[in-house]
């Protein structure tokens, strides 16, 4: 009998944290003109317990199509392998000069599908050395709690255990990461509003240019 009860108690103790209702956090992001901010990455890092090891994600891809990177912003966890399919009709030369991951893939012809593992946290800026206007960002995170804002400017982080968190908001046009401390109760559906001071979007001109008078 004792042999049966002890494993059951042990099993209940192990299972107990999973029975606690997870909290969620909905971040609403607006710019100085109160317009929703898309493509921002909101992440939450626990402050009052050990870091949770974030597993690498599967099936993440940054496509090259119509001489653009799609999507513009991608958030992944450390160790994630990102595929770069060239679904365009032209060659590309993908590169990154960012400290967390420096790499380049020259002679990247249509149909190429190579992957790169992002093994250090930070923001990686992608470019194409042939088409200077092509730009995209990969945000590599150590925490498993993150989300990217959609066109309505909201990002929802779910399955957060109760506790204190440092919530960070990153966006390509944000000069400095916006940070806030948030405390979440069991099962809470919290919401936080962020008003972001974004810089002007100064992307490289892509449209075709005219020609001279042909004198």
């Amino acid at each position: 009998m004792r042999r049966v009860i002890f494993p059951c108690i042990a099993a209940l103790l192990v299972a107990a944290p999973a029975c606690v209702d997870a909290a969620s956090l909905r971040a609403t992001l607006t710019d100085a003109k109160s317009k929703p901010v898309e493509d921002a990455v909101v992440s939450a890092t626990p402050l009052d317990r050990a870091k949770v090891a974030a597993a690498p994600l599967n099936g993440v891809a940054v496509e090259q199509k119509n001489q653009s990177f799609i999507p513009y912003v991608t958030a992944v966890t450390v160790g994630t392998s990102v595929l770069f399919p060239n679904d365009d009709t032209v060659q590309h030369h993908i590169y990154s000069l960012s400290k967390p991951k420096r790499f380049e893939k020259p002679l990247y012809s249509p149909g190429a599908r190579e992957a790169v593992v992002f093994d250090q946290p930070g923001v990686v800026t992608l470019g194409c050395n042939i088409h200077d206007w092509m730009i995209a960002y990969i945000v590599v995170l150590e925490t498993p709690y993150f989300a990217k804002s959609g066109d309505d400017g909201s990002a929802t982080l779910s399955n957060l255990p109760a506790g204190r968190y440092r919530v960070e908001v990153w966006h390509p046009l944000l000069g400095k990461v916006a940070t806030r401390e948030v405390t979440l109760a069991d099962g809470a559906a919290a919401s936080e509003a962020f008003s972001l001071a974004l810089k002007a979007d100064r992307r490289i001109h892509r449209a075709p240019e005219g020609k001279s008078s042909g004198y």
């Binding site: 009709t89 030369h93 000069l97 020259p106 100064r202 490289i204 892509r206 240019e209 008078s213």
Partner: protein, 292 residues
């Protein structure tokens, strides 16, 4: 024979593009209003005109290695000149560019070598010519929105008539600034040395030859290649000058989207021939450029 040279070069370019994997098509419709289109020194005789251009161009890009990019382009243009139909022309040009980029990223400087071969078929057959051009461009982007470039060009136009066979060299600097998303301002200047074809009323030219503008001008005008031309009127002639020409231009281009833009451009040319006789021409142009 000369047109065969142009056609052969274009055929070679076409064959090269057939094996290249990438392609991009572009169409350009331009209206230009030109003052002193006739390139005439004697102010009362200057003729203005309107030019209507339609260009279709196909470009093929191929990266040779991490640093070098080859671009091959075929460009076909139809131009109507109002009210001077003898100046109407069709042209086809093949161009190969080799671009060396010194490093990664948009701020890396680039050095581009270009070779261009073309044929321009005028309604006035004497003006039809093969065109050969070599150019080198050094470009640098200073910020996301500001870039500069300098270009040296050697240009050779070979017509059946000496008057229209010209050779000149050009140095140009240009800068472009994206003032806000979708709107770009550009400005540039160039100096040309070499030959151009100008036009004059035969009476005025005869007076210059006779010494009405002094012995230096008379000697010079007697020495230049010239021939009768009905392009601007029945009693006109065209003549080839050795000259120095200064150009400057400003432009504004508004992008409707990533592939379509509307450039507006003003260009001024000031030409001084070896006998110090000068003329000025101006061009206002509005285009619609679309990349497919």
């Amino acid at each position: 024979m000369k047109s065969c040279l142009g056609a052969t070069a274009i055929l070679g370019t076409l064959m090269l593009t057939a094996v290249a994997p990438a392609q991009e098509w572009r169409m350009d419709a331009t209206y230009t209003w030109a003052t002193n289109l006739s390139r005439t020194s004697y102010a009362p005789d200057r003729e203005n005109g309107a030019l209507y251009d339609l260009t279709v161009a196909g470009a093929w890009h191929r990266q040779i290695n991490a640093d070098w990019l080859a671009t091959t382009e075929i460009d076909a243009t139809a131009e109507q000149v109002h009210p001077f139909p003898l100046l109407d022309n069709n042209s086809i040009t093949g161009e190969v560019d080799l671009r060396r980029k010194f490093g990664l990223g948009p701020f890396a400087p680039t050095l581009t070598f270009s070779g261009k071969v073309g044929y321009v078929d005028y309604h006035d057959p004497d003006r039809s010519h093969d065109n050969f051009q070599l150019a080198t461009t050094l470009g640098k982007r200073l910020t996301e929105s500001w870039r500069v470039s300098a270009t040296g060009t050697w240009n050779d136009e070979r017509a059946s008539a000496a008057t229209y066979s010209i050779r000149n060299q050009r140095l140009a600097v240009e800068t472009a600034w994206d003032i806000f998303e979708g709107c770009e301002l550009s400005a540039g200047a160039s100096r040309w040395w070499g030959q151009l074809t100008a036009n004059a009323n035969e009476d005025i030219f005869a007076q210059a030859e006779a010494g009405s503008l002094g012995p230096v001008v008379a000697d010079y005008y007697r020495s230049v290649a010239h021939e009768h031309s009905n392009a601007y009127d029945t009693d006109w002639l065209a003549y080839r000058i050795d000259c120095r020409a200064d150009f400057w231009w400003v432009g504004a281009s508004y992008a409707l989207n990533d592939n379509t833009s509307i450039p507006l451009r003003y260009e001024s040319a000031y030409v001084v021939n070896r006998a110090q006789v000068s003329y000025r021409s101006e061009f206002w142009s509005l285009s619609v450029v679309h990349r497919f």
